[in-house]
Amino acid sequence: MLGGVTTTLAISIISLLLGLIIGLPLAFIRSYEKNFGFLVDIFEKIFRGIPELVLMLMFYFGVGLFFPFPFGNAFFTVVFVLGLRSAANQSQIFRGAIRGVGEEQMVAGTSLGFSKWHAIVRIMIPQVFVFSTPGLGSEYALLVKDSSYAFVLGIPEIMKNADLVRANTYDFVTPYLAAALLYILLTFPIAAYFDTWGSKRKKKLGL
Amino acid sequence: MAYVMECKHLWKIYEQHLFAVKDVSMHIEKGEIKLIFGPSGSGKSTLLRCLAMLTPSDKGEIFLGDQCLTKPGVDLNKARARIGFVFQHIYLFRHLTALGNVELALRYVLKMPKEKAREQALQSLREVKMEEWAHHYPAQLSGGQQQRVGIARALARNPDIILLDEPTSALDPELIGEVIDTLRDLAKEGTTMLIVSHEMSFAREVADEMMFYDEGTIVETGPPEHFFNSPKSERAKKFMTRLIKRTHRE
């Protein structure tokens, strides 16, 4: 059953990174570019308003019929859906952090001669990360938990493995409790670590 | 006849070595206005909060009229209902309008019916000249206006005494005047007040007695003139000279 842990972690971390790669730019677009901003809004609303499980079922069983290439693969579908969902969440997290860092930092940057996007990369992003740590910590925890949806698509992650053990041993208690414990061990310490790292860093930088 | 408020051998110690209140005994009579002043951190606010039964004291007795408040089994809420408190940082209830702030205790502590509570609350607001702003929220009022509502809130229950903890210290200079004017009006009406403040000119005008408080004790007491002309103790002398120097420089 511990083998499932690797899969769970793989799903969570890949989705988190995917969310980061997409979410960070989206946050800046939403904050600084009025025109495309509303597109980002729609994107966020879609992922806020539709259950991940429904999206997974839709892509895997629905789209997968026409495009078995990526969407016939369960792992890909799960990461695809969770990654995009995470991007929507992270876009919000980073937007809050951008607001927290403040307009003045951008103004200071451009007054020194940086172009807008250069200032964003060199000045805003480092600070935004420090502000985002609690949000990212909980997003990570959320992804670990949502990876359990992969159970429905048959992927051998923690949940599925626990169920297999149950099916073989007819033990309805231990596998599930063990799985719960595994999840808690995966979510709690890391989310807490993110939090403390974040506040220490904030203090050091006087934020 | 008992004093309006009295404390005997009051002690309050923080963490074994911060003596905020060291064996303090004092009293105040009906209609009197007493002012406590002294260096920051001397424990003046703590003394006031202990008297108002907002912070528990460690030793000693506190009397409100002839009721001892420090005995076990006393209904603290009823006691606090007879004491009005005005905070340095105001602490208005942010989710209520000015009127709501003043009414709240009338309705739920004194259990007045809605219309009567409203009428009395409006009256209190009238006394502090904030009647026009009755339906504004604290966030929409200036610091001075908020504090006046705070005073109305403390007054509305017709308490036996009003305790004021540096009522103007947190306000911008130009807003202090309106609060002082309000307090002056209250003084004229004979309200019993115990004030912690460094508004010296106000003290001179209005206080019956001033108490110099330093490091947890009342070092010296006397009428205002006493302190302005010839304070006895070294510490009081030093404090007054520094204060006068500063006021002269301004």
């Binding site: 259950p51 | 809420n77 989710h95 929409q140």
Partner: protein, 221 residues
């Protein structure tokens, strides 16, 4: 293209109603229980706080799917009392939501707390009166945005109810897809219904927030 859903409308409506029931029960029961947990954590002393902490860690640290399975399969095995899956569904979502809401409530309370408590006491109100008339009104208003987020999460997680045998909206979708083989269209329809429900509710929450907002305070995210 979507005419086939016509004969499944009753199933869909049944599923939707169940989803709505579980969601509303969960979010409001969670609110009540969460408030008690927050107050208990703040006031209850060390033992109570520790118990609450364990409770919250469990429900926030594990996926809802596991919580459902444990309630539906593990518990009855241990206690030899069979549990109706509907009860499991309602109860688990309520308990789960309470754990999350306790965090928001406690956070909002602490934004409000210390000075407002003292101010309340200074007017003669008791601890309980102050909590009721001063602290909680402010707490709930500050909380509305976080609460509407919780609503979204809750609704979305009800999609797994089908795995313990309850026919919710997603379950209705599975039935439709299985019987009509029009898989993609089915899921698009289901997705749109969820979207409509959530958007409607959050819009209402936003409007309420605007009207009841306390000028001057916001929950620092």
């Amino acid at each position: 293209m979507f005419e086939f859903i016509a004969e499944y409308i009753p199933t869909i409506i049944d599923g939707l109603i169940l989803t709505i029931e579980v969601t509303l029960f969960g979010i409001f029961a969670g609110l009540g229980l969460g408030t008690l947990l927050a107050i208990g954590d703040k006031y209850g002393g060390k033992v109570v706080s520790s118990i609450i902490r364990i409770y919250v860690e469990f429900f926030r640290g594990s996926p809802i799917l596991i919580q459902l399975f444990i309630s539906q399969y593990a518990l009855p095995t241990l206690t030899h009392i069979p549990i109706n899956p509907y009860i499991t569904g309602f109860a688990v979502f309520a308990l789960n939501s309470a754990a999350y809401q306790k965090g928001y409530i406690k956070g909002a309370m602490e934004t409000v707390f210390e000075d407002q408590m003292m101010a309340g006491l200074s007017t003669g109100m008791s601890n309980w009166q102050t909590i009721r008339h001063v602290i909680l009104p402010q707490t709930f208003r500050i909380m509305i945005p976080a609460w509407s987020n919780e609503f979204c999460s809750l609704t979305k997680s009800t999609a797994v109810l089908g795995l313990i045998g309850i026919l919710d909206l997603t379950g209705a979708g599975k039935t439709m897809a299985g019987q009509t083989y029009r898989v993609l269209e089915t899921w698009i329809v289901i997705a749109v219904i969820y979207l409509a429900w959530i958007t409607l509710f959050t819009k209402i929450a936003d409007i309420i927030y605007e009207k009841k907002k306390i000028p001057g305070i916001e929950l620092s995210a």
